[in-house]
Amino acid sequence: MPSESALAAGLSELMVLRLLREQEMYGYEIVQAIAARTRQALTPGEGVIYPLLHALEKDGLLKSRRKTVGGRSRIYYSLNARGAKKLAAMTDHWKSLTGAVGAVLNAI
């Protein structure tokens, strides 16, 4: 069974991969998107998203490029094929986990 911190780390990873499946984004956009989609239930630390992005890129799940939009140059991240595969596996795992937790909660 994953520890609480591992679960939280896995959750951040899952959300980042899921968001980047739709479009390439830069760090600030990702943080805002997570907060908006979870209706502020999950608000990752503004600055701490980058180490995760760097680690995911190092693991070969993301790719990055510097892009200038509206006169501002930023590093954009996007999902690659390996990242998409990992996202599919993590999504399945997460669904089975929430299903199991749901089954326990419903039985109470």
Partner: protein, 231 residues
């Protein structure tokens, strides 16, 4: 410079300099976005900046998040024994071959090489003497300076580059170019690598050159020790 304190924490923590550089650049961009948002919310000037900085997170939190990612640590931080203990002699020999290889290649392409040695025109002899001279005097000192630069850049303990310098100083990398009188075959380019402690007689034979090289190689160590005592 913004986030100077954070840069030091991360480098001392062993995070690879390229990740540190990129992280700080991204944090600066993120801070600008947050400040802009605070201004849009009606906060002005310094107030907007302070609120944005608070939202970004404290240096301690920002550093902890990065230090937690072990995969982002640099190789010299993870395995200093490999970089400063094993690499110096290997790098010395590899650099010596890299320096002499273009000359050997040119000699072969221009058909200077035959059974009796190299039949070299004047320009080739001049180039060969310049390259071997540079190799004799500058290669080991340049490598020693490189290891000091690497360690300083990554805030690695000064003892590691000192070890690298000692290993390089113990090595006796020698380049030689020898050419007979004009028009005669029999020229040769040679590289020799040994530990001069075991071959001190040959070291003494060429002592002006060897001692100069040794002193130049030890120069970065002197700088390291001076910097250490000044700190």
């Amino acid at each position: 410079m913004r986030f100077e304190g954070l840069r030091e924490i991360l480098l001392k923590g062993g995070v690879a300099p390229r990740h540190v550089r990129r992280y700080l650049a991204e944090l600066c961009e993120h801070l600008d976005d947050l400040t802009e948002k605070q201004r849009a919310l009606g906060y002005e000037g310094e107030d907007a900046q302070l609120r944005a900085r608070a939202l970004l997170g404290e240096d301690r939190e920002l550093a902890a998040a990065m230090l937690e990612q072990k995969s982002l640590r640099s190789l010299p931080a993870r395995a200093p024994w490999l970089i400063f203990g094993v690499l110096p002699p290997v790098a010395g020999i590899a650099a010596a071959f890299a320096l002499i290889a273009p000359l050997a290649l040119i000699a072969r392409i221009l058909h200077m090489v035959a059974k009796g040695g190299i039949l070299a025109p004047q320009w080739f002899q001049g180039t060969a003497f310049a390259v071997t001279g540079a190799g004799n005097l500058a290669l080991a000192p340049a490598l020693a300076a490189g290891f000091v630069f690497l360690a300083t850049r990554q805030r690695i303990s000064w003892l590691w580059p000192l070890l690298a310098i000692v290993l390089l100083a113990l090595m006796d990398l020698q380049f030689q170019a020898h050419f007979p009188p004009a028009g005669q075959r029999g020229g040769a380019l040679t590289i020799g690598a040994t530990t001069w402690i075991w071959h001190w007689q040959s070291w003494l034979e060429t002592w002006p050159l060897s001692a100069t090289r040794l002193l130049l190689t030890l120069l970065p160590a002197g700088w390291l020790i001076r910097r250490r005592s000044a700190a």
